[in-house]
Assembly symmetry: C3
Homo-oligomer: 222 residues x 3
């Protein structure tokens, strides 16, 4: 698929995208490793959670596309995940409190959503499913992590999270449909999703929920 | 794979199958959206549950077959899922009580089981695994929905459900082995599974469970 | 991929590997069927658990590799799974107490880890991901079984389990990199992992967990 003559140009263009992807993997791997560490698990389980959270979303995207999971042919992804797990293991848990990780997760979420939509379009997926695949790339690693840990996943909380991924994916779809080059298109879409997720973190923006969307209805929906 | 000259004939034959498939997607999407709505979730989560339940079974079938998930190249499936989620969101929950949905779910279950077996055979799968894939196509969307929602899945209840999908898949396998054209073969198999599931709904037919299958054993199995 | 002239040699070489694989499937299927039987489930659910546990790890390996799941084109695997489920169903549960099954599970775990790594390498996967795929082949069937049954999975217990699979996979990677023929390479790697898992069973070897790895910290980690 690659013309040899364009190799240098491709390298220039593709490197920032790869860095974006590895950073997203690292951030998700850290969040997975931390969940396992907080549950008082062993190093092996910490590595497992780092792996599942780091590559879960991208793997689902790839297997739905009917192609081999990207991290299998990329020696960096596994190394980054292992390093993330060891970092969590050998540092005290209190280093990782506070919102630092939530912000990093927001960056990973929006980077993966943009990259996922772009890859889906490359594989000839229709527009709406391409947006869905982008959202899944961003959110699914965290969902698997929470289900395995027996925690209520972000999916079940009213906080704005999936919506930020959806905004990124829709913008990525729109930007890639224009003449914009790939990298700025993805960066603009990611930045918008990151800003929305950041706003949700700062001001605790929540979506209305089904039971409470009707006026005059009180009490928790059963 | 398609000869241009047979296009019209193919269209005549394929359209009812596609309608069968879209109806199944809609029914499962509705059931997923309702579970999320009853849990008091947001619109985004309602859409997510509609998606996972609507395409979960078919996606598992396709990824096991090593092919791209069908809904990625079909613009209708995503639209049907979105519409189902919005329908649940903008209508009061009491509209959806009663057994209407259970009957619709029975229709979706048997339609997907027949279609799943047929697709597996097209991909050269051996007979027993083809039946297994048909059953998975029918049941897995609902199982993922229940696991994500933290509910005991239909799988763990003694009520006849998977069995109805198995009946449909076995009959589809047998009917496709004869000279019967594809559509009537699938419709006959679906109708039989639907009738069995319907009978289970009307008369609460249950399978014997392991602890209770031996005579003289009382009390709930632990 | 196969030269006709080498058919006889291939048969001689491949048969023990296939037997290794079918034995692993049978053992995992038995463990899955038993979990469902102990939960007092129906025969259909017992079959479902046998299937998911028996082919879960190998299926994940295959779909990540972007290829069709092996058991779909192999008529033996489904038959072995069905037989395992029926065996559990028609025998009293007390036959299956004790550590026999744990030892069989250890054999399945190490066989699958070695076979998974070998298959990943055949598909051109990088070394570290190939080890990860081997570990996943060995462990994931049991994890899905436990998540579906609502039980804490082996993954969350400090007992040495995933580590044994990792030892097997790393040794398989090393042995296949030498000039050793495929079968003895896989058998040596499997034997080492089996021995480690066996030692963990006999002497209850546990890995240190995150909360307790620091000296002077008492009480359960929260």
């Amino acid at each position: 698929m690659r013309v040899e003559g364009f190799l240098f140009e491709q390298l220039l263009m593709i490197t920032p995208v790869m860095i974006l992807e590895l950073a997203g993997v690292a951030v998700f791997a850290l969040s997975g490793a931390l969940v396992a560490a907080r549950l008082g698990q062993t190093l092996v389980t910490v590595c497992f959670f780092a792996l599942v959270t780091g590559v879960g979303g991208g793997s689902l995207r790839d297997i739905l596309l009917g192609t081999q999971a990207e991290w299998l042919s990329d020696p960096w992804v596994s190394a980054v995940i292992l390093a993330s797990a060891l970092l969590v293991w050998f540092t005290p848990e209190r280093w990782w409190r506070g919102q630092l990780l939530e912000w990093a997760d927001a960056a990973g979420l929006s980077a993966f959503a943009a990259l996922g939509t772009a890859k889906a379009l490359e594989f000839g997926v229709a527009p709406i499913p391409a947006v869905v695949l982008g959202v899944a790339s961003g959110c699914v690693g965290g969902i698997i992590r929470d289900v395995l840990a027996g925690q209520p996943s972000i999916l079940m909380r009213p906080e704005l999270y999936v919506t930020a991924a959806a905004l990124t994916s829709i913008l990525a779809l729109a930007a890639l449909a224009t003449d914009l080059p790939r990298l700025p298109a993805l960066l603009i879409a990611s930045a918008a999703g990151f800003a929305l997720r950041g706003a949700a973190l700062v001001w605790s923006i929540e979506l209305p929920s089904y039971g409470n969307k009707k006026a005059g209805r009180d009490g928790p929906p059963s």
